[in-house]
């Protein structure tokens, strides 16, 4: 752990370094990347040492009320799901549930990105209301990443890092794999439907 002592002004034990990491991660307003965290230590700590400390910190919190999640844009503390009922008693207003139209649009952007609005309409077989795109953009889950070089130069939509962060994913490859569709659709599925 040679790197820990390069800062001659304040050499710190791994325990002290973990307290610093913990303080910074608990107070952060967004996930912190390894490069953010290196900045915290004035770039005097190697990424490998940081990773070890982060893993240790995650283990320290394993039995507690928060979990240190590794997300697309970095590390961040979040409350464990089992504590949500208590949190909800303080803030009874639940976030709105997304409509099927919004969810299907999101799925298409996530699995087929980058896509144009036209692509989404082709797959869903219906016109996509501007409102639906706007809901996802305002949540910061999708954004325009370019334009397709076809007439009208339609905007290409893709999912953002925030989308991955908010779903606890590190990358799009961690999305649930797409179903290989059964040729015969079974009744069990049918019963879930209207």
């Amino acid at each position: 752990m040679a790197e820990l002592n390069t800062d001659s002004n304040s050499p710190k034990s791994p325990g002290e370094l973990k307290r610093v990491l913990e303080a910074v991660l608990l107070a952060a307003q967004q996930p912190l990347s390894l490069s953010d965290l290196r900045k915290v230590f004035a770039d005097e700590m190697g990424s490998d040492v940081l990773r070890v400390l982060l893993d240790e910190l995650r283990l320290e919190w394993a039995e507690r009320s928060l979990e240190l999640a590794q997300l697309a844009s970095g590390w961040r503390f979040r409350t464990r799901a089992e504590f949500l009922p208590y949190l909800e008693r303080l803030n009874p207003e639940k976030p709105p549930k997304y409509s099927r139209a919004v969810l299907e649009t999101l799925a298409i952007v996530a699995y087929r990105q980058p896509v144009t609005r036209g692509d989404i309409e082709d797959i869903r077989g219906v016109t996509v209301a501007t409102q639906i795109i706007r809901v996802l953009e305002e949540r910061g889950w999708i954004d325009v990443v370019g334009h397709r070089d076809t007439p009208g130069r339609p905007a290409l939509l893709a999912t953002t890092k925030k989308f991955l962060d908010d779903l606890g994913l590190r990358s799009v490859t961690e999305l649930p794999p797409l179903e290989i569709m059964n040729q015969t659709l079974d009744l069990a599925n049918a019963q879930e439907n209207p």
Binding site: L26, A27, A28, Q29, L66, R76, F77, R78, T79, R80, A81, L84, L87, K94, P95, Y98, R100, A101, L103, E104, L106, A107, I108, A110, Y111, D122, I123, R124, G125, V126, T127, D165, D166, L167, G168, L175, P176, L178, E179, M181, Q183, T184, L185, D186, L187, N189, A190, Q191, N193, P194
Partner: protein
């Protein structure tokens, strides 16, 4: 729920002479599914639940429990059109998408009636349903994917981010100063007080001045009274020792310290002129 599949079982001992509406995998279908009748009030709710023509088609195909790769176009089209008709009769604003799909279904159905070109292995070469099937499968995939996404833990819905309060005022922010700032401050003073002719600061003078401070501090920290030789750290080298000595003489000249020796060859002592020890 009354499934098409069940209706077929009910209709199993079907009687000769009744013309089936359609055949599904060779099985005759003698009546439209019972649940095609929907109470008018429920209609609006029900159609609202469909995300478009593909969704409605998937629903009908599932109800019939048929192979999506071998869709019986005739009954499917009939059912689809009756839904569309129901929408129309309830004055629901019928999205153009539903009508486009209706036209497509009818077109596929009519193409199915044409003699099929067959190759040796017996497979349809150009099945008019192919594009519809591709779209149904892709939509079905995305529909399930949407469902899966919704089941994943989501920020703000299933967990909260932690953002502990930071009381910024607890952090004492000290101004930063660099050597250049001091030079600028000094030159400002010179310009202002026109002291430039009297205060030429050379490195040598500055170094003597620094050592004047060091000596005073050394004396202060040692009770204001130190043996002369103890004031010099030989390890610092001749140039520093000379500057240190000059500084001591300068201090004596300014009567800030006294250098005393009681007799020749006796130890020389350096003492703060004010005789006091600062803490």
């Amino acid at each position: 729920m009354n499934e098409t599949a069940t209706s077929e079982h009910v209709a199993e001992p079907w009687t000769e002479g009744v013309e089936p509406l359609a055949r599904i995998y060779g099985e005759p279908m003698v009546q439209l599914p019972l649940d095609l009748y929907i109470p008018p009030d429920a209609m609006a709710v029900m159609l609202d639940a469909f995300e478009g023509p593909l969704d409605l088609l998937l629903y009908l195909i599932r109800k019939a429990n048929v192979n999506v790769l071998d869709i019986p176009m005739a009954p499917l089209t009939v059912q689809y059109l009756s839904y569309v008709e129901a929408m129309r009769s309830h004055n629901l604003e019928l999205a153009a998408d539903y009508l486009v799909m209706a036209a497509m279904l009818i077109e596929i159905k009519s193409r199915m009636l044409l003699p099929k070109a067959r190759v040796l292995d017996g497979q349809d070469v150009d099945d008019p349903r192919a594009e519809l099937v591709r779209r149904l499968i892709e939509y079905e995939q995305m529909k399930l994917a949407a469902h899966r996404l919704d089941e994943m833990p989501q920020a703000e819905r299933d967990f909260d981010w932690v953002e502990v309060w930071v009381e910024k005022s607890m952090l004492q922010r000290l101004p930063e100063v660099c050597a250049e700032d001091l030079k600028n401050a000094w030159s400002g003073l010179l310009r202002q007080a026109k002291l430039h002719t009297h205060h030429l600061i050379a490195r040598e003078e500055l170094s003597v001045r620094e050592h004047m401070g060091l000596i005073l501090r050394q004396l202060r920290d040692n009770g204001g009274f130190v043996e002369f030789v103890a004031m010099f750290d030989l390890a610092l080298g001749a140039p520093v020792l000379v500057v240190h000595f000059l500084a001591m003489l300068e201090l004596a000249r300014e009567q800030l310290l006294e250098i005393t020796q009681t007799e020749a060859f006796a130890p020389i002592y350096v003492r703060l002129a004010d005789g006091r020890v600062e803490h």
